[in-house]
Amino acid sequence: MSSSPGPPARRRSSGQRLRRGLAPYGLSSGGAIWLLVFFVIPMLSMLILSLKSQPLSNTFRIVPYTFTWHWANYHAVWSLYHSQLWRACYYAAAVTVGTLLVGYPVAYWIAFHGGRHKTTFLFLLLLPFFVSFVIRSLVWQFILSDGGLVFRGLEAIHLLPHGFHVLGTSTAVIWGISYNALPFMVLPLYVALEKIDRRAVEAAKDLYARPSLVFRKVILPLSLPGVFAGILLTFVPASGDYVEATILGGPHTTMVGQVIQFLFLQGEQYAQAAALSNILMALLLAGILLYARALGTRQIDEYL
């Protein structure tokens, strides 16, 4: 019934406009609160704790920690535990490379040749993960043990020397973490590969590109965001692992996660534990920033 049929927006009151202006903030507040509660507050607490100290005495009376800008905590844990820190990075890198080499063909095959059963294949990939994490690792311990399924047989037919073992070595730890990390590599890769416009692939073929050239020039570059996301989702959790290293590791496979757990639970050295966690986090953040810059992808967030 209105006589002026202009766009409704024009007739909005200033109150409406204000509300409209606030809408994005309102909508993002859920995420912001999430970040604040689960990221900012714990991070700040850790940072503060890592700079606290307590006077030492030879009693078991607990002396409260006080905030003293005690940077020496960082120096102490770095000099004591840097080798475990580097070892964790090295294991995580090995895991990332391993899962990428195995995961890419799997994701490629499902995305391009999975046909009607794509979801079934993805489900199969995830199926082992319906079993508890700890149980899966313990089963690997069982399989890889000297008297276990694999090595008892090989040793019996003299393919392996007496006393040969995998359990308790770096190989076992990297194997265990890789096994658990595989889906986190395959899923983002699959999403990236699945999204590739098939017309681009066909166009390349029409222009007489060999299959290897199609892969190198078209498919691989277009799947890079997935590779980036996969590497991130694998490397970061792998570097903080302590379960696999405990269950499958040996005397020379201690990872930084185990050290943090020790400092915290047995050592009751909370400030040092916090300092070591912060160092690990800082290293990871720096590494990721450099890596993101080097790879220069902008659409990573789509796949995370």
Partner: protein, 413 residues
């Protein structure tokens, strides 16, 4: 002796399904991280304003005369550490019939350190932990509970059974002189276990701690990841009595453990027993009860010995945390389990060292109890007891840091 070949576990299996205590424990270490998180957050929090316990360092007094029974008891114990029959605990049922006290029996303890971290925030804030009775091994956590006046001193006059029946081994222990705060639940020893078949290359049965250092077993020696256990065996190996050891001796022991490292397969938590069963390790540090249980459940050939250098004797202790709502009920229970009849019910299920030697003939008379009563691991004879050694009692934070800094780098290689 006639039915020696009959497996007690099998006899028991006729009447009830039984998961071993060990099955549960082996999964426990991993969960500890999650438990620890809450304590970590508590440590991050604002509890820096000196809320730590009372102010005196002498044993706090407690007015037992003013206490009354509430007919309730919140009891925190380790998994599979009490007699169990078809989902019930006969000794607890008996306790309720006799005293009218209903026990809320829970098993939240898988690890002394992790469990202590769940108690600590409440104790530090001066609040009740929710438990009236907890079971903690002698060690750093227990020392810390005592030093901060976080345990209620016991009224020994109300523990006549303890006075009458407790084994001398658990009376007046070094870590709690005169049993001011604790009485033993069960004890055990840390000695050696081996598979006779795998260690045949030695040409004789292993009988000494030094055999853990024998290069014949390269890559198949199991050591413990608990640095108290590891350090103690290192001290025994260097000919030192751990209880009276000094820092210089710790360093020498650590050097010897470092030397041993190329032979070591891994530093294990409770899972050392699986490694031995699976053949990953051939000879290992071991807890007495575990090997006895393994013998009864499919690994009859594994052997546990008290090495000639001695075995470490430890005790899991009952204690009442400050702020407990039902302390008199807890004290009543403490005395109840020192009744030999009850001690026998417990010993015949738990298979560690009973604190009540008088329960032995009663266990022998129970179905399947003959082998348990005959085992010197459950009822050690005097000669065996003379080989038991006490741990070094860590005196405080500087002491603990020194011990950790000397022995922990071996494990965190």
């Amino acid at each position: 002796m006639a039915n020696e070949h009959l497996d007690p576990a099998w006899i028991r299996g006729l009447t009830e399904p039984r998961l071993s205590r060990r099955d549960m424990l082996r999964y426990a270490g991993v969960g500890a991280g999650a438990v620890g998180l809450s304590a970590f957050l508590a440590a991050c929090g604002a509890k820096t304003d000196g809320a730590a316990g009372g102010t005196s360092s002498s044993p706090a007094s407690f007015d037992w005369a003013a206490q009354q029974l509430h007919h309730k008891l919140n009891f925190a114990n380790w998994p599979y550490y009490i007699d169990t029959h078809k989902g019930t605990h006969p000794s607890l049922d008996l306790f309720q019939t006799q005293t009218g006290i209903q026990v809320n029996y829970r098993v939240p303890i898988n690890d002394n350190a992790a469990f202590y971290q769940t108690l600590r925030p409440s104790l530090q804030a001066g609040k009740s932990t929710g438990w009236d009775l907890v079971v903690i091994t002698n060690g750093v956590q227990l020392s810390e509970l005592i030093a901060n006046d976080w345990l209620i001193p016991l009224d020994l006059a109300k523990l006549p059974n303890f006075a009458k029946y407790a084994s001398p081994a658990v009376k007046d222990p070094t870590y709690d002189p005169k049993n001011v705060y604790t009485v033993a639940w069960q004890s055990g020893i840390t000695g050696l276990a081996f598979s006779p078949k795998a260690t045949a290359a030695l040409g004789r049965e292993p009988d000494s701690v030094a055999d853990l250092w024998n290069p014949v077993f390269k890559g198949h020696v199991g050591m413990m990841s608990d640095n108290t256990e590891l350090g103690s065996v290192g001290l025994l190996h260097t000919g030192v009595d751990p209880a009276t050891s000094t820092q210089t001796q710790w360093k020498a022991a650590a050097a010897s453990l470092m030397q041993q490292q190329p032979l070591v397969r891994n530093y294990y938590d409770q899972s050392y027993i699986n490694a031995l069963e699976n053949g990953d390790t051939w000879i290992t540090q071991a807890w007495s009860g575990d090997v006895f249980i393994a013998n009864q459940s499919g690994y009859p050939d594994l052997k546990f010995i008290v090495p000639k250098e001695g075995a470490m004797f430890w005790t899991d202790n009952m204690m009442i945390p400050v702020g407990a709502e039902n302390p008199l009920d807890a004290l009543t229970y403490m005395d109840f389990v020192y009744d030999p009849k009850i001690a026998a019910m417990l010993a015949n299920y738990i298979w560690y060292i009973s604190p009540v030697p008088a329960s032995k003939p009663l266990v022998a008379a129970m179905p399947g109890g003959a082998a348990v009563a005959a085992s010197s691991l459950v009822y050690p004879d005097a000669q065996m007891q003379s080989d038991f050694r006490e741990y070094y009692v860590i005196k405080g934070q500087t002491d603990l840091n020194a011990w950790n800094n000397i022995f922990e780098p071996i494990i965190q290689g």
